[in-house]
Symmetry: D2
């Protein structure tokens, strides 16, 4: 969705309108936006990080070729031209990126190995629309190894790594994507994935819902052969629930956004690290002794608070929910109203999923050099618009860092203009992407192989057993050794030895 | 249930049989015994602590009166004799204990204050069967202040604090309980609460299900007037679910055992402290540098691990569930099989809810002076029975501490004979009891005032809003200031400004 | 010194006077009393803990023998009567205590093993005056194994474990000590150690300086043969420095109080654990969410703060020294003046070594139920005397716990009447005592074997190399494996491969 | 010194030789190189960070002017041409950098304020040779405000920020420095500072000893008027001690490298943050669950271990010193030999100050993707040279990140080619630089104002009272409120109310 939004914003007013409408609808549907957008954000993070840090970016930049890929004639080394990428000659660079990613995605590699005997996706024809990065490439090639045929487009006009797309095309994957597509290009690419002579998809892997939307709109008959949709983003999941509610969902869909493993990694564990990373990269500040207020004590807030406390900051928390508030107390944080500490803190971090948590009034009262940033949701939490007034001077001091200067000389350090700090100023570890990609692969396998009737035309969560399986595939990374139940113990607990081990309501 | 079990075990073979049968049934019903028994355990803990530490115990001990309370004629200062306690003259001592407890149970005191205007329990006739401690007394007197009439018996033959019972009797509460009841006394006391001329209960507050059981068996007609049952223990809740399943539950029941606040406090937060306390009081050991293996990484295991790591121990974790295992990894613990580390660790702690997690084979391989204890469930986790063999010598070195000595001189330090360490060797803070008592009071109010039809003849969880209310009543203890949503924010989030703030599946 | 104080206080006005004078002199001499008294305190702690917890106490208590040991005729099984203990028949019980202690004092056991070839104390005649506990017994028997002859008295009239003394007497050690000596007994016992036909000491091991004092006063000629004094307590060390300053010290003396290992263990690491232990045993409070102010951020304060922060308390610090203050900031604690937080905190802990840090004015402003205790120095930090006024009511609620009640009903919970919490309400782990005992043994070996001229008539610190050796002897407890320098590395660093590894000013 | 080394290495073989010789001499002199170079390193860090991250770098880069500053005619706006910088027109950009730095160096600003009444450096003529950064500019302008005249050169041929130099020149400071000086330029600049008509320095502020060396060599007579030298770097301090030892030091010198505050901040507190920062910026790795071995548990190692443990890594420690080893144990780290864990760890971090701690043999045994980096000393700790063999392939994947690839495909991730990670890949917070600069300023004031005879021709540490003063000037940053002793307390402790508060041997 973040991807979608960017796209629309860039490409014209109608797009913006659509996005705004959508935001409204979303509120009606999903009452807990705290976690909204986090997942697909991290995909974007990954992309953004690649832009700034990985060597890959440079290959792309150096190709000063202005010709649109749609106007080029390209063939891969096997003679195929069923793809459309920036420059097929970058394939070798992309392959290296993919190989590096493979080393950090052991779960997918394990799936490939286990699939040598059986091909659980034999016969599957998957059309995909996701960010196109080295990690996605590992996923796609894993799906291939499991027996599937794939066609792929990008879910974001900016996020494609051209050399990775080239490597995939060179390996025979029909990929239609490049960095810097126009909106027209965007839909053209999706259409090229779907609208093929003699090939019809029977599975959809979507990130944001655009692909699903396109098929609904243009090729509704295709759904007769489609066995299911796997959707990763909050936005896409939201759209699916709406379709389901309206009775218009005509195939089963799997919501992979809300699995435990994914949620914990995207929020608690990932933010515990990225808050430090984002603040350091932008400000080089010292954490020790700093006073920080963290607004919101959900998973994201818990991660931020734990990390900053560990680094010697003094952390205050604001909350609206008394249960989370009590947790903050027991974890050793003073629970305050923002007003109580706003004059004294060195850093303000928002993680609420709410809007206007930090208002102009708060900003007016902050002390000189106070850093303000958002780890929560979209760009609504800090009322940045309120700072666009004539008496305040904005000074861009670094990329993603603005000093907003009051008439009396007071400066506020605003990071990423109030957008997500971890999206803009830090990276998401491959390990987190690995968990997501593995979950997607398993969801595809589950839907594709499910016996008739197990799934109806509704939106499902991944079965807990599969959640547990994703986790188990990632344990070798830590050289972690799981204990197995004895028969006697399994009987005593009333559990199957292979899980699932917990009831659905278990809180972890 | 632990209370119940003790009782049965003490009082004859039929009781033991009943208990064993029950354990089997339980396994079928409840697949997650990890948390089984924790709640009512802490009640017992409270009692046990009182025995050893508080001055109260001494009053009791000093009364060398051997006469059964049932044979005594006692009156309180107002002339009433509708009670049966050990010695009404101890009332003053008990009152002091109650006053001290009141200072640490601000939530109940707040309920009393709010109830000055309205009496939400006016007309309620509550019959209760719980441990009778100072904290319970604060609960009872709060129920009285809210408008209820109460009659009370003990749910455990050992746990009554005689002077508290006396203080309640002196204040006019019909209390039937003393420390050291026989099984016959036990049921006699319950009967005296229920079987009264001109008074019939319309609410039940039970801890273990014995009271409910008695009414079902002896006075089934009473259920016609009863508006609901509030049950606190795992065992009692289990019995209610069985009744419900069998279609025999004839009034609504509230399961207060599984509310978030209660679970987090009884398990994570409480065990984080009691593991240290229990180990210190029994062994005076130093935590720094010790190697510890914690079996199980549920809430209890998480609490134990966090505390020991913070004190400088090196902690290993064993798990059967790959999701909890991955959490252990991310939290910085090596995940091992018990066999891998059993030779090297200084302490073994079980928190699994399983049986025979530590076997004789493990015990044989432990190093000299290794400490073994159980924080998890009942007394099944360590196979203590396997240590009762002729070649091993048992030496009791302190209360709750045995040295088991191998022929070669190796000693294992076994705590509490494998029963719960925190039950036997540490205390439960009043703050935790306050959360439970407040939850019970709110559950009674909810059931008593619920409009016709809101609750059917089934077992319910406390509505999330009430969970949140319990939490909010405990925030003032920490001088914690909750933030309130603005109208605009509430609308944006689609929430009511007063909660509930989270969906039911939220994991906290 | 604490021992001495108790003794004097008990035994009459002249003693009290002496003690007060001494306190004054001490201030002049030693400008940094923060750490004063900590070491010998922990010896007393050990004793106090034994009283309350170990089974040993009961043997003693059960012997209702009122006859003074001085009036008894006792022989051990070998026919010797060169000892004076309470009851030689308790030897077996004491032996068990010693055996248990041996298991936790691996460093001394290692010294014994290494001594099988050589006897570094062959010919040594050591007269000792320390607390007589199982740990001391392990030290004495180690000295014996190293070749020394020993005669021993108690340094405290209360701290002797009678059954341990009996076990030592049974093994042939001339021990003169029992629990509950009169002051006259005390000096008589010391004299019996020193004043022997045909035996003259050549080494002194003292704890508090009383033995040294007695020899100075009564047998000054003995110093001709004495090779050195090893002194453990702050008080004794102070006396030695005074002698040295006055030019009256006639043999070398070793101050074992100030070695790094001992200091870190007695203060930082030990207090990190004992603050939690002491608070739990006395109050059963929950740490999570509590607001605590710790006065003083030296080693003791650092330990207390780290532990409480880890348990979820919110900790404030007061300091007078800007460097320690800056450390507190960087470690994540708000640095405040006591007045700023006195109204809001739940616990006040003093660790300053100063006097009147908590005044009546502070106590008047504390909130209801605030807990006040001292981890620092003597009983001067909290102005307890100021609470002995008519309008305040004192209520003893448990051993070591007083409620002081204001006219308006406010209660302050005062622990140990302002004396050291860890002395009175927690125990000291054997591991810490092991470090001390090993240091004493090595100091004796060093002084006894030092070539003429290495030590003059002055007070010395243990050479760093010996400090390092004490540490190395305790590493096996943790299965810790030290790395050895290669020749090349040692040369590069300019170090001897066997140490010492750091300059004297290194801060650790 | 690091600066010096770079310089020599770049500029020819004689330089290299000099440097090597120097390293040898150093070893003889300074036996504890663990902390060698840390301080001045952080200066370089600051510079390196500026290069990569701050906007300042771009101004410099954009000036494609190839003319040597020595060949240019430049005047500032007041008509002065007594300076030599890259481009005086960049002054405005530099001024902005200085203003930002001023906001984070409150201690110097406080010194300026206090100096409004008195000018403690009135009459001082200071010649300086340091890195020329915004922070140095704040120091220089503070010295000016305190009454001093200053002339300045750079101590490193690369580290000058041209726009800052321009801003200083514009303000009237005779500055002779630019980025990218030749060695000849370097000495020319120094000479221009010293060799001036009608102006002779009476104070020296040096970083590395080159300025001092130049004056010794060229203008030895100047020392007659010089009141003292303030030296910051390990290398420079070493040179001074050598001079002193040789009896050739002809003025007092102040070693500001070894003050407590500086050491703790440069090592423990700064590395606690920079280890995380450096690893993230280079590898984007996730810390949670990773196994890490940290070689060396000095201040740097302690900082690294604490940070990684807090982020959920599992940390092993190697040590040669048993005391530090015991600390590691008590802090909760397994103490191992490197060989024991080398096959299993994900990250190897060296902090020993030693050489060849990580050998080719270790590198051969590491697992695939293992990250290797150095936080300790120079580039000696990892035997990087051993990796320059034909069978290994080096692949530069990012700036400062090399993959070294074994024939079987195994990759080691080597950071900064074994040079200091925090030097190369993270930044040093202004707060740390502020502590150093304040210490320098106070040392200048002390030496300049010291009464005749207080300091002889020797090397001195800053008096503890000044250390405390530096700390106290930085407390306001944390809104920290120091407690003051009452008269009574000061008397009791035998302390002056204004400090110093601790004896010289205090360990903090």
């Amino acid at each position: 969705m973040l991807g979608s939004r960017k796209k629309y914003i860039v490409n014209g007013s109608s797009g913006i309108k659509a996005q705004i409408q959508f935001a409204d609808q979303k509120q009606e549907f999903n009452k807990r936006p705290t976690k909204i957008g986090r997942r697909s954000l991290s995909r974007s993070i990954s992309q953004s990080s690649t832009d700034s840090y990985s060597s890959a970016a440079s290959y792309t930049d150096s190709s000063d070729d202005e010709t649109s890929p749609r106007d080029k004639q390209q063939k891969n080394s096997k003679g195929s031209s069923d793809f459309c990428v920036k420059n097929i000659k970058q394939a070798e660079f992309g392959r290296r990126e993919i190989e590096i990613a493979e080393q950090e995605m052991p779960a997918l590699m394990a799936l490939r190995k286990r699939a040598q005997g059986e091909k659980p996706l034999a016969g599957a024809k998957i059309v995909g629309c996701t960010h196109i990065t080295a990690q996605t490439a590992v996923l796609m090639e894993t799906l291939g190894a499991l027996g599937a045929q794939c066609r792929w487009a990008a879910c974001n006009i900016y996020s494609t790594l051209n050399e990775v797309a080239a490597a995939l095309a060179e390996s025979g994957f029909p990929v239609f994507a490049w960095k810097g597509e126009s909106e027209d290009d965007f839909w053209w690419c999706i259409d090229r994935c779907v609208n093929v002579e003699g090939w019809q998809p029977n599975m959809i892997l979507d990130d944001g819902g655009d692909l699903t939307h396109w098929i609904y709109k243009k090729y509704p008959n295709m759904f007769k052969k489609i066995k299911g949709i796997v959707e990763e983003s909050v936005t896409g999941v939201h759209r699916l629930y709406q379709l389901s509610k309206a009775g218009k969902l005509c195939v089963p869909a799997m919501n992979v956004n809300d699995s435990v493993t994914k949620q914990k990694f995207d929020n608690l564990y990932c933010c515990r690290e990225s808050i430090l990373d984002g603040l350091k990269r932008t400000t080089d500040m010292m954490f020790g002794g700093k006073q920080v207020v963290v607004c919101g004590y959900g998973e994201v807030g818990k991660g931020c608070c734990a990390a900053l406390k560990a680094m010697g900051s003094i952390v205050y928390v604001t909350e609206i929910d008394p249960i989370c508030a009590l947790q903050a107390c027991m974890d050793g944080f003073r629970l305050v109203k923002l007003n109580e500490v706003i004059r004294q803190v060195d850093i303000v971090i928002t993680c609420t999923g709410n809007k206007n948590v930090v208002t102009r009034e708060h900003l007016d009262r902050m002390k000189n050099s106070c850093i303000v940033c958002n780890m929560g949701h979209s760009n609504t939490e800090i009322d940045v618009a309120s700072l666009r007034t004539p008496e305040l001077t904005w000074e861009r001091v670094r990329s993603q860092v603005d000093h907003v200067i009051w008439p009396d000389g007071k400066r506020i350090v605003l990071l990423a203009e109030g957008r997500l700090l971890n999206l803009s100023c830090s990276t998401v570890p491959t390990f987190v992407l690995s968990i997501t990609a593995t979950t997607q692969a398993l969801a595809l396998i589950e839907l594709y192989n499910a016996p008739e009737g197990r799934y109806k035309q509704d939106v499902y969560l991944l079965p807990k057993k599969m959640d547990e399986y994703v986790a188990s595939l990632h344990l070798p990374t830590f050289d972690a050794h799981l204990t197995e139940l004895t028969d006697e113990q399994a009987k005593y607990l009333g559990l199957n030895k292979n899980g699932p081990f917990k009831p659905n309501y278990y809180r972890y």
